[in-house]
Structures are given as structure tokens and as C-alpha cells.
Amino acid sequence: MTTVSIPDVMRILPELILAGFAILVMLFEPFVPAGRKRVLGWIALLGVLVAGMAFTWAPPNAGMAFSGSIAADGFSYFFIFLFLTIAALALLGSINYLERDNIHHAEYYALILFSTVGMCFMAASAELIMIFLGLEISSLSTYVLAGFRRHDPRSNESAMKYFLLGSFATAFFLYGIAFVYGLTGTTNLVDLAADLAQPGKWSTLTRAALILMFVGLAFKVSTVPFQIWTPDVYQGAPAPVTAFLSTGPKAAAFAVLVRIFLGLAGPSGPAAFWVIWISAALTMTVGNFAALLQKNVKRMLAYSAIAHAGYVLVGLAAAMASGSTEGASAVLFYLAAYAFMNVGAFLLIAHLAGPGEGRTEISDFTGLGRAAPGAAACLTVFMLSLSGIPSTAGFFAKFYVFRASVHAGLIGLTIIAVLNSVVSVYYYLNLVVTMYMREGEPQAARTPMPLPLYSAIAASLFAIFYLGLYPNHFLLLSTLSSKPLP
């Protein structure tokens, strides 16, 4: 007989607060005059802050909650804070964007918060049903967000594609869960691990189920060949949404991958491992090489996002190969570092693209270094960090992943990864070169950055340099957080 207990509720407090604020924002909208909708944004941001603070001031005890549905462990805390940070940055970057493009509605903020709720559940659940629900909540919210520029056909196309293919991929995930349930009679990861630990439990079907679950998640993190939707969707979605989309749901799906594959892979470890290995190699290579040809900044960054998913998979492969925490902590570090640089880059591009996002071609940024030196410098830092130049977060993220994979003996994969990161420098620097070394008048917007965006960019920059100059603290944190409970 189980009842709801206070400690249990404390363990899902941030999710509850976020959901509450999401509803609050929508309820508030009728009372806010048309010109002052930004108040809603601040309420949403307040929600994120309150959720974070509630969690900081009253940290729940580690342990399972709700009959084993929720695993409150360092791993989930890490991801919840990461999601809250991403949500806060995205909200800050959205307020003026929505005003500028005249699509200022409370639902936007509510959906960002709901999506964050879903992501938090994904990272914190030890129950496949819960993970599925979290995945669906975050996906549904982002489908709608991707189409939020309703009068822009590109945005509609983006939302439609994302919705159709996303549902398709989630079906695979659900199919995998069904198989697992059929085989073991449980969907709880802890019970599942115990059940699969018995001899003779692993069969071809178990592996097939694992593959199906992997496909559903691989779609979210966009690994080859399930990356195919990424460029179209990232390009069409409003840029602040892309900022959110390319970091939050991706990190959440990785959290689930780590939880499932490190926890369950068991005797099929080698088998699951090779799938990850091949995916990592393909994803990095396809992402980077396709990015080389792009003429559109958002599309280029979409391919770069694919490539980065590949690097994270390298970390996952290392974690699976060696069984040490080094790989998992590298994955966590990478996801956080990547979140800061990618959110920053997309938010900045959202601003520079001007009203209606009309200026997103790389050529539009020609000569921006002189016309808007501040914005150009920030964008340069993001690009340098994405390409992994030392003293930025991107460098240490890559460094830890590569180190983990070398220590795990994955020399071949490491070489592929290093070669790939060399290739990637080309297209990141291309943008920098365009901004600084090409003659011409920039087409991109030169209006000064509004304060909320400014603070989001400044925070991202700070994080990038903090992680790039003092990586140790954060590495320690990610190492401590890298052991999921089950």
C-alpha cells in the first residue's frame, strides 16, 4: 500500500512548480494589456527561478519516489538544473524576439515551461512509462513551438515535419517498451535491470527491443540516420525555439540513453556498444561534412548540432566500453558546455536575423565585425567554442570526451572524432571570416541588443569562459553526477 508522501512530492518539486507557473502564465494573459505582454515572460522566468531555488534550498534526499517511478539522484539533479538554465536563457532571449515579430502570446512561455517539465521527467524517471510521458510532453510542446511563427510557411513546414517524424520515431520507442514489458513483465528500470541480470534472459528479442528504444531516442538527439529532420526543422523554427530545441530535448534524450544503456545493456553490452560506436562515427562525419556546404547560418548550425551529438555519443561509447565514470561525466560536461554555446549562438542569430528572420544567410553577416563589433565578437566566441578552441568550454568538452575514449581504448573512434573536429573548424571559422575579413555592408540587423537578450548572451559567455578556464569545478560536479541510481 503506497500513499503520496511529502518526501516523494519534494522530489518532483521543480516539475510541479514549472507546471504551475505554466498554467499561471496562460491564466494571466487576459489580464495583461496587449502592449505589456513581456510581463508574462518575466512570470515564466520567475517560475524557472523559483523551481531552481526551491530545489536548491530544500534539496530532496536521494532515493526513489512514487513506487520507483522517480529516481532522485545526482544524475537527475544535474540534468534538471541544466534544463532550468536552458529554459531561463531561452526565455530571456525570446521576450524581445516575440515582441519584434509580433507573435507575443502566453502560450509560448507556457509551452517552454511545459517542455522543460517533460525534459525533467525524462531525466529523473526510472520508469519507462514516465520516460515516455516526459518525452511526449516535451515533444508536443516543441512541435507547437517550432510552428509558432504561424504566418511563416517555413515555420509551418518545420512544425509539420517535426510532428510527423517525431510521432513516427516515438512509436518505435513505444514499441520497444512494449517488447521489454512483454519479456520481463515490468517497465521499471530497477526491476528491469534485476530481471535481465538473470542468466538466459537476454535473447535476440531483448536486443531488438533495445534497438527500437534506441531509435526513438536517437531521433531526438538526431544521430545518423535519424538526423534527417534536423536541418529542415532547425532552419524553419523560430531561432529562440531552435536554441531551446537543439539543447534541451537533446540533452534529455541523452540522459535517458545514459540511464538505459549504462544501466541495462548488461551482457549485451558489446552489442549495444557497437551500435553506439557506429552511430557516433556516422553522426560526426555526416554532420560535419554536410555543414561545410551550408549557406544558411541556421542550417549550418543544425548540421553542427548533429555533429555535436556524435561527439557526445563518443563519450557514451567510452562509458559503455570502459564502465568507468569518466565517459559518463564527459557526456554530462559536454552537454552542459554545448548547451551554453549553442543557446548563445542561436539567440544571437535570432537577434541579428532581424524582423521576420529575414537575414540568416551567411553572406548577410559580411562585414558585421565592423558594423556591430560587440555582437560579432560574441558570435565569434560562440563559434570558437563550438569548434573547440582552447580556453573555451567547447575545448574542454571535447578534450574530456576524447580523453575518456582514449582511456577506454577506442583509438579508432577517437581518431575519427579528432579529424572531424578539425573539419568542423573550417565552417565555424568561415562565419568568423565572413564577419571580419570580407568587405561589404552587412545585411544583418544592427539594432542594439535588448537587455534581456544581452543578459542571456553575457551569461552564456561567462559560462563558456568559466568552463574553459576553470573546468575543474564543473568536471568534479559532472563526475559526481554521473552515476545514475538504478
Binding site: 517524424l165 531509435v215 551500435v275 575579413m437
Partner: protein
Amino acid sequence: MLERIWLIPLLPALGAAFQFFFGRKVKKSVVSLVSVGLPGVSFAWAIGCFFALLGRPEHLFTKVLYDWWPVGAFHLSSGAMGNLNVHVGFLLDPLSAVMMLVVTGVGFIIHVYSIGYMAHEGGYYRFFGYMNLFMFSMLVLVLSDNFLMMFVGWEGVGLCSYLLIGFFFHRRSASDAGKKAFVVNRIGDAAFLLGMMLIVVTFGTVNFQAVTEAARSGHYPILDPTITAICILLFIGAIGKSAQIPLYVWLPDAMEGPTPVSALIHAATMVTAGVYMVSRANALFMLAPAAMALVAGIGAATAFFAATIAITQNDIKRVLAYSTISQLGYMFTACGVGAFAAGIFHLMSHAFFKALLFLAAGSVIHALSGEQDMRKMGGLREKIPVTYWTYLIAALAISGIPPLSGFVSKDEILWQSYAGPHGHLVLWVAGWVTAGLTALYMFRQIYMTFHGTSRVEPEVEHHIHESPRSMLAALVTLAGLSVIGGFIGWPDLLGGSDRLGHFLDPVFENPVPVALKNYSAGREFDLMFLSVLIACTGIYVAYRIYVRRPEVADRVAKSFGPGYEILLNKYYVDELYDALFVNRVKNIGNAASGFDQYVVDGGVNGVGWTTRLTANLSRLWDLYVIDGAVNVAAFFTKLMSYPARVIQTGLVQSYAWLIVLGVLIFMGYYLVHF
């Protein structure tokens, strides 16, 4: 005071950040207050730190701020396990103290000067932002306690140099010069990086003190091949940054930058980073006599060749640029003969008088509304007297007229290259002749600019005016330093005690014998006399040719005929490089990358054929990528990225199909293999 030594680089960085974020919005006065004030405070702090250091008996202070890069355990080349942990840390010893004072002091003065000089230029805040950023990078370079952090500063100053050379970006020549500097420097940087990696695998650390200790432990024999390789690689790095043969070609072009930049970066501080680096690694170099000989040889050769070119140049700043290259050659000669202290001494005095020369030249250019051609000057002596007198002092100093600073430091180098343990008569002769040439080209410049009849264009003529106070103040201060700067290293022979040399000694104390060859004091005195004599001769010749009988100049030029032509065209080195590397590379539309490619690959013909082939295939290339290797890779990657685009049709059905295909393949793999 010392505990907060990190404030010294941090303050200019704050200034740069301020200009970056707010510079455009605030008034010019605020810009100058912040950007000149912060380096000023930094300078004051540096003085404080210097005296605090003097107060310490061992004249040594280290401060580790935090662990920067815990690389972890790895195998050294010797087979032992190393554990590399790179700190962000500061090392203040006599060597870095001298550098710190020179950088902050001269830097501050030049910042003050810039207030007046840049007053009417656009991008005022941008200029000061870059300048402050440069100060930060240079101070990181100088104060770091390990090679890696030094490299960070090294790259930083390179970047600032590039940005500032191209400051007048609307002039095509300026942005080209910036690129040239960047590309040429990259070659040196690559070597520096390789050298640093060799240090890591050999010593297992990049910390200066640890490396020095290991090198002096006697564990490594003299002429150890690894150490020699390290030294040569490091020296190639220094060649790039300090503009020595064969990588000096970027410095004269760098004069496209604003004059304060030329003074600060391309005369007083950045270009001397190579000398500082070689001195910093003195313990290694002492174990590699072959590398030392290379250093001395290249230094002396550069000193001589650059001086000969300087005689024929007509651009007031270009003369000074070649002069800088030549003087840097002196410093390397000193390092090469093991007289690191003498090199640093000359570095310091050179910083004073060369910065002064540039600033005064800037004052002349300012007065003439931007005119830089000395053939269109003349007779400016009365019109801008302060500039004239300070220029004269600097010229006397650089020519080595006693008792000015240049005389003392240069003479120390000449004496060491004659009598030092690694010295050689050839080195001395080269240095001695160069001293004469130096006096000749300097006074040719003085006479062409300030004496004789005015050849100034009429419309410029009535605009001539003395520069504003802030500029003159900087000139006078530097002139004072140029005069008295020599006394801190006044040699024993003339009744001094060479305090600077003794101060620096602990840094350069190597177990390898550095005793001078046994010559009498008389010999030293004779040599000193000879060098003063040749300097006076140089001045006299310049006087004869350019003042007494200006028409002689042309006759001399004619009588030398082809020789003069060669000098005027700077030995055709630029043309040679163009022909060898640049032009061919331009064929593939990719000057920068190809330059690297050729230099690195060496096999000119084979590569030439390949590149021509790729050139036909790669019309799409529209980007100047610095690194040649990356560029070749980039081509193939582009080729390979087409399939990815073919798949990306945009049709949802195809996408869904592809997803199913993926599932199918993964699952098939599983079913087949397990």
C-alpha cells in the same frame, strides 16, 4: 602587492572589455580616461611589484592562481610516467620584472601619446580597446610561469597585431598587410607549438622553473639532439614573431598600422617577445650550442641585411621598421653568444629609443597631415623643434654615441660577441659594420627630414604644426629615458657596475661555463673606441651626402647602379617570396593557405602540380583558410558532403522511409551478429 600581481594584466583587460561593450556609447574623454588610466594603474602596480621583488632576498616570486589544465598521467619519451598539470600562474623574477616594467611603462607612455595622435581618427574606442587587449596579452606572455600560458599570450599579441595593422581596414594595403603578418606569424607559431610539445614529452612539464631546473640538473648532455631540436623549434617561433631572416617580411608592411601601434607592438614590445622567449629558455639553449650558433648567425645576418635595406628606403616608417629588424638581430646575436643579459639590456634601451623614434616619426607625419615620404620633407627643424630634438636624441642613442643608452647596450653586445664563450670575430665584424650603417641610415633620415631645404608640398606646408601636449609629453619622457637608460647597465670598464646585468644574473646562471675569453681591459676599450668611431663615420658620411651636397646622393646611387637597385628593392625578397610561393598560390586563388602549404611541404613541384589540379576542381573555394593542411582536407570534405545533400530532399515521406531503413539496418546488424 605581489600577491595581487594578476591585477597587472587584468586591468588592461578590463579596459578592453569596457571599450568593447560601452566604448561606442561613451564620450571620447571617457574612452581615453579608462583606456589610458587602467594601463597607468597597471604600470604603478608593476613598479610596486618590482620594489616588492627587490625586497625579497632571492628576487623570485611565484603565484599559482589555479589549476588550468590537469592533463593527467602520460608516458614521457624517456619511458617514465609524467603527470602534467598546467597552472595559471605568474612568475616574477628579474627577467620578467624587467619585461614587465618595459611593457607597462613604455606601453603607458604610448597610450598617452595616442590620445593626441588618434584624436581625429574614426574608431577611437576600437583603437584603445585593441591596444588594451594587446597590453593584456603581452603581460600574460611576459608574466606567465609556463610555456603554455605564454603561448596563449603569444597568440593574443599576434591577434592584436593583426587587428591593429588592419586598423585602417578601408585601405586595401592595410588589410593585406594584416593578413601577411598573420600568415607569416603562423609559421613561427606552429614551430613554437611543436617545440612546446617536445618539451612536454621530454620534461613532462611546461613550467619554466621546472624545465630550467631539469635542464641544469646535468641529466642532459650538451648537444643532446632532443634539446637541440626543441631549441631550434622555439627559435623558429621567435624568428616569426621577432621578424628575423627569413620571416621578417611582414614587419615593414606592418607599418600600415597607426604609428602608436608601430611604436608599441612593432618596436618596443611584441617583436621582442622572441628575444624574451629565447632568454627564458636559456637553460635549454646552453645545452644546444648548435642552436646557439644558429641564433647568433641569423641574428647577425639579419642585423646587417636589414641595415643595408634601411639606407635606401624613403618611407620614414619603413626605415624605422628595417632598423627595428636590424636591432632585433643584435639582440639575437647577444642571445646566441650566451650573453642573454646583454640582449635583454638592449631590448630595454631599444624599447626606449625605438618607441621614441616611432612616436617622433608619428609626430612628423601628424604635422605633415599624413605624409610619410621623406623625399617630400626637409627643413622641418625650426617648425617642429621638440620633435626634432627628441628625434635627434633617439638617433644618437641608436647610433651608439656615448653616453646614451644605445651606446652602452649595443657595446655590451659587441664586446660579448667578440669575447664571449660562443663569440666569434665574424659576429663582431658584422655587428660593428652594422653599427656604422645604423648611424648612416639614421642620420640620412634626420637630414632628409629635418635639415636642408623644404620639399614639402605647398598645400601641406602651411598646415605644419607642432603636435599636442600629450604627444610631446610622451616624446620628452622617452627622450629622457633614452638618455639615462644606459646608466643602469653602465659597464665596469667605464667606472660603472652593470647593475642590470648583476640583477639578471641569477636567471642566466648556467652550469655550462660562460666565462669570457681572456682579453685585457685594453682590448675592450679599443673595441669600444672602434664602434664609436664607425658610428661617427656613419654620421659624417650621411652629413656629407645629404646635407653638404644633396646632389651627391643621386650620383652615389647611380655609381652603385645595380647594387643600389637591389637595396632599394629590399633584395627583392618580397618579389622572391611572391615568385616562389605567393604568385603560384594566387593561381589557385588561395594565397594564404598555399604559402603555408609550400613552406611546410617543401616539395614545391609535386605540390604545385597537385594544387593546380585541385585548383581546376575547386572553383567553389571562396575562403582563405590559414592552415594549409586544413585546406586540403576541406576540399575533400566538400566533395564528400554532396551525398548528404542528396538525401536531404525535404520530403517527409522520404525522411520517414530513411528512418525505417535505419531501424532495419541496425536491427539486421543485431540479428546477423548475435
